[in-house]
């Protein structure tokens, strides 16, 4: 069914196998900084409509791959597809971020949440994965993804984005069993979802724990890491005869990298607030590392940008197991020419 994979640098680096150079992809590489993305979005109407249309999701996923010599494509989608499929009434208000019409507030709300069948309620995502694989034609591997149960739950309980997480933290302290029930359901749904992405052609998967860093160390283990471990342990390990690497990324989780690395994942994402040299010491080369240029470095003049990228590359040091990335997603104000400079810098880097 699938074309031979012509560039497998990402898959090898994620499994800590030697590669002739460091692979690079960028979080939110398909995004608003690209004029072709903005054109597609204007045509599609809104963000959710783009996610829900496999042809558009595919088109947008391929835009950065067509423009830059990146080493991976990542599915264009959102971490809130699962609660959307749980009928919480997701809307993306312009400039406002996501909103749920029916937030989850009680044990009864949690009990009645369905676990979506990825082949039905999330079919648009699975169809997008298959279509992207076909269109990629083996150029680079495709990364599938989902939000972590904790992170997705914050939006479901708060009813949208939050800064203080007052509602979900109140639930955590007042009714921890209810929250565990919600997280367990999300872990189950996420496992099914990621395995369906793998079955449809995702060659690596990533779990985004955007808000794990809002927790205490003990809460992180109990309410976030535990459920990511459940998911990672239940993922399909091989597809088409190749191992499917699993990446876990907790933003703001720099102090906990050793714990994150120990859940059985192959690679850990690192944000820009931790140096890769420290990160590598913490995980003791048990997993690959992915990251971690400050996304704002893309505002720097080209020469400074090159210096900053090389600091990250040098910081990791020698040996296999580094996938170059930003420490967080590309911001919309970035000049696409700077991204070209960054990709070229990483591609031409060889450790002295």
């Amino acid at each position: 069914m699938s074309a031979v994979l012509k560039n497998d640098l990402l898959l090898r680096a994620l499994l800590r196998e030697p590669t002739p150079r460091r692979p690079i992809w960028l979080m939110r590489q398909a995004g608003r900084y690209l004029p072709e993305y903005r054109a597609t979005r204007a045509r599609a109407g809104n963000f959710l409509a783009m996610c829900m249309n496999p042809e558009i999701a595919c088109e947008v996923t391929l835009q950065p791959i067509d423009r830059y010599p990146l080493d991976a494509a990542i599915l264009f989608s959102d971490i809130l597809t699962i609660p959307h499929a749980m009928n919480l009434g997701l809307e993306f208000e312009t400039g406002e971020g996501p909103r749920f019409a029916h937030p989850v507030r009680s044990a009864a709300d949690i009990e009645k949440l369905p676990v979506p069948d990825p082949g039905r309620e999330l079919k648009y995502v699975i169809d997008a994965v298959a279509l992207i694989r076909r269109e990629l034609d083996g150029r680079v591997p495709l990364i599938g993804f989902a939000g972590s149960p904790w992170t997705v739950a914050t939006y479901m309980v708060e009813g949208g984005g939050s800064k203080a997480f007052a509602k979900i933290k109140r639930m955590m302290y007042e009714a921890p069993r209810d929250l565990h029930r919600l997280l367990a359901k999300l872990a189950q749904a996420t496992t099914l979802y990621l395995n369906a992405q793998i079955a449809a052609g995702a060659q690596a998967v990533m779990v985004f724990d955007t808000w794990g860093g809002a927790l205490t160390p003990a809460q992180y283990e109990e309410f976030s890491l535990r459920y990511m471990a459940e998911i990672v342990g239940a993922l399909t390990r091989e597809a088409s005869g190749r191992t499917v690497p699993r990446i876990v990324f907790t933003k703001g989780g720099g102090a906990w990298l050793a714990k994150t690395a120990a859940i059985g994942c192959d690679a850990v994402g690192v944000d820009w607030t931790t140096d890769l040299s420290s990160a590598r010491k913490m995980v003791r080369d048990t997993v690959a590392l992915q990251g971690n240029l400050d996304p704002a470095a893309l505002f720097a003049p080209p020469d400074t940008l090159r210096v900053e990228a090389i600091k990250v590359l040098d910081g990791f040091g020698s040996g296999p197991g580094h996938v170059f990335n930003l420490g967080h997603g590309i911001t919309p104000e970035v000049d696409p020419e700077r991204v070209a400079v960054l990709v070229e810098t990483v591609r031409s880097y060889r450790l002295a």
Copy 2:
């Protein structure tokens, strides 16, 4: 002039001197969770008007002291008083946070910024300090404060609150000398400001680096810590025959506590994402620690709240040098009765 200080637990703990019990105060203890605060605010009109009226600032500072047996008062004010005095046109829109009508964007903008004379443009703060000291009548010490140069600069350059800090980070990468000039000016203004607070009666001072955690480790040292070190090194060391302890708090700076502790401050604030036992190992008892209960624990039922507070107290362990606090400010939705439970728990704690 001043009454004898009847409760000096805070000052002693901040200097790592033995105390019969752990002192406690709470960030944003004078705030919207208190009905008496909301009543004063309704009368005063808006937040900035409250800060600028010494009688009201005094009244609000004393409200939590009158209600709870806390061990310190903290000046009611804002970290943006300095840029306000630099004529940037500060406004607090309801529910929107601070906005500057004239943000700082260029070298010329920075060059023309005046360094405010605390006795003139910030006289309302200095008058408030003196009035609060008089009204406190030696019950507990008064903490003065300011924002860190980096944190204050983020608001000045972004024009208000931010999530990605795109504008100031662009300045950092494109024109680092301009940013250094801005930070140096802020460090100078902040030193004058804190020394004026000390001269007027502040018995300890705290520098709030709310956004230092948005930086890389190298940027934190170059753009935030360096200027806090400048300030700390230039503060008046004694007032009325007592040492004036200096507290530095970088939110999200858990990984850098050893570096923060080394700038010559007496105490370091710790947010809830780092356990105090780890924090203490990092700073090797060279400074006192202040923190660090998850502010959301105040939503917990009283029994759970007690357990959580005791975990923090036990986590620090034995020996002097712990000031109990939250890891961040109290959220407005908190029930004042829970704060009473917390204060009582900490006051009655004795290490086994």
